[in-house]
Amino acid sequence: MGIFLLRRLFGAVLVMFAVATLVFFMLRIVPGDPIAAMLADAGGPDEIAAMKRKMGLDQPVIVQYFKWFANMAQGDLGSSIYGSRQPVTQILLEALPRTLSLALIGFVIAIAIGVPAGIISAMKRNTPTDTAVSLFAFLGLSMPDFWLAILLIIVFAANLQWLPAIGYVPMSEGLWAWFSHLILPSIAVGTAFSAIIARMIRSSLLEVLRADYMRTAASKGLPVRALMLNHAFPNAMIPVITVIGIAFALLISGAVVVENVFAIKGLGRVLIGGILNRDYPVVQGAVLVVSAFFVFSNLLVDILYGVIDPRIRLS
């Protein structure tokens, strides 16, 4: 298990290194030179030259690359080119709890809806219940998250006035204030995810229920409860865990868009705002953090996979 862990960890670090390199060079070798466009916004030739010196852009690209990397290793991602030139790390650290809260509650909502829905529709296969679940899953998958967000605002914030429409309140200002601002965005983010989980659990459970060992266990006279809990679920969960890892990307991509609807200044809003302002240090930082999340959640899935299914550790 130790070697397995180490190998996967090393792989993830390697991928992150490559990702960072790619993110750095793409901005600099692309035709049309986004950096030049960014500098043009800074003002006259003197300001541009000063800015270039300050950001180290007057040096060869390879030198810039190593400096950038060395700084990054110390947690310094440069600073925003706008306003008070806030350090990117600080901006991202402020944004992170918002996106994490959103993703986490979205995740919980998705699991709370998706897992029971999948199990019920597998056990009541080909009944109206199953059809209804499957139809809802299709709708959830097909609905753009930002549209769902708008619908939720129209219904629950504008008309019923049950929940706030926009903004974010930190947890320190009250648990309910924090939570109530996150309910609608989390539903918008988690719905597609819950549909994927429900479909996956249904098909994976159906497959397991057909397996020979299930027939053997049933013919031994095991009660249905033990049959499901000890034999069916653990085996049905294996493919589900992979999908959860993949769907985490969906959750983050969803958060990027949904934060913009609800005016939550998380990673997504920082990223999009950075792009619209051509604030490339911010954009680079946000993309790096988002992909780091993705890489390490995949790593976590890999490890979990190894825990559940010992065969995988050896391959």
Binding site: V15, M16, A18, V19, L22, V23, M26, L27, V30, G32, P34, F138, L139, L141, S142, M143, P144, D145, F146, W147, L148, I150, L151, I153, I154, A158, I196, R199, M200, P239, T242, V243, I246, A249, L250, I252, S253, V256, V257, N260, V261, L271, I272, G274, I275, L276, Y280, V283, V287, V290, S291, F294, V295, N298
Partner: protein
């Protein structure tokens, strides 16, 4: 017609792929719904300039009107006809959905088959590339590419297609690895067929079913992706009505004019839902076993 009728009566007869497709379609209500709705949208897209009641960008004094005979879906804050804008938006959505997937399919499948067939160093490099792209969520790739290249129709298409390449390469490579070991490939080699002929004539056709399913699913993701990008202001341009942009424009007025927040999204959902229904049918009919 007679032939199809036979197929429906006797399920054992449908041996060919086409027959199987039709036989399963006859039983699949969701797929029928999907095909009909999608056809309607395609017709709407093609004939948009003739069907649409107004010019999509024409501003009138009828601002934020409710639905009426003159404006079946109402008007927006600038008095533009919502139905006309949505109809024109269909063109962009479907065009981007299909063109990006075709590009990604062409590049991805070529890479995947080459990697799987030749193996060795080529496979190693292509796989490392795929792994690297795998490290980013597709939508984030598209967002970053738009950040780097800028907005506009061509850049959006490039960004979305690039984001999907790894998916196709992965599927094509996995299929190729399996097919490579089949006896008919050995036979083709023994007959002295060129690598190109084996890859195009023998591996590609047999690898097609999962690629077709992947392509269908990808079209729906591409349409969602384009809508998200233009909703965020990273889309084609501010003067071309796209579904995402119409929603973004209407967002500030949803409390006074709910239709601005509802209908453009409904159009996106109907198209994506139809494509997902069709994808599900193809998955069954082509017997593709694959996770979501």
């Amino acid at each position: 017609m007679v032939q199809n009728a036979n197929v429906l009566e006797d399920p054992v007869v449908h041996r060919t792929r086409e027959n199987r497709l039709l036989a399963t379609l006859a039983k699949d209500r969701k797929a029928q719904f999907g095909l009909i709705v999608l056809c309607l949208f395609v017709i709407g897209a093609i004939f948009a300039p003739w069907i649409a009641p107004n010019d999509p960008n024409e501003m009138t004094m009828d601002m934020m009107n409710k639905m009426s005979i003159a404006h079946p879906l109402g008007t927006d804050d600038l008095g533009r006809d919502l139905l006309s804008r949505i109809l024109h938006g269909t063109r962009i959505s479907l065009f981007i959905g299909v063109s990006t997937v075709l590009i990604a399919l062409l590049i991805g499948v070529t890479l995947g088959i080459a990697a799987g067939y030749y193996g060795g160093r080529l496979d190693f490099f292509i796989m490392r590339y795929i792994d690297l792209q795998w490290a980013f969520p597709n939508f984030i790739i598209a967002v970053y590419l738009v950040a780097v290249f800028g907005t506009g129709l061509f850049n959006i298409i490039a960004a979305i297609s690039l984001a999907f390449i790894d998916d196709f390469a992965r599927v094509a490579r996995a299929m190729t690895l399996g097919i490579r070991e089949e006896q008919y490939i050995d036979a083709a080699r023994t007959l002295g067929f060129s690598d190109k002929r084996i890859m195009l004539g023998h591996i590609l056709p047999n690898a097609m079913p999962p690629i077709i399913v992947q392509a269908t699913v990808s079209v729906s993701y591409a349409i969602l992706g384009e809508a998200s990008l233009s909703f965020l202001g990273l889309g084609v341009d501010a003067d071309t009505p796209t579904w995402g942009l119409i929603l973004a424009d209407g967002r500030g007025f949803i409390t006074q004019a709910w239709w601005l927040g509802v209908f453009p999204g409904l159009a996106i959902m109907l198209v994506v839902l139809s494509i997902n229904f069709i994808g599900d049918w193809l998955r069954d009919a082509l017997d593709v076993r694959q996770a979501v």
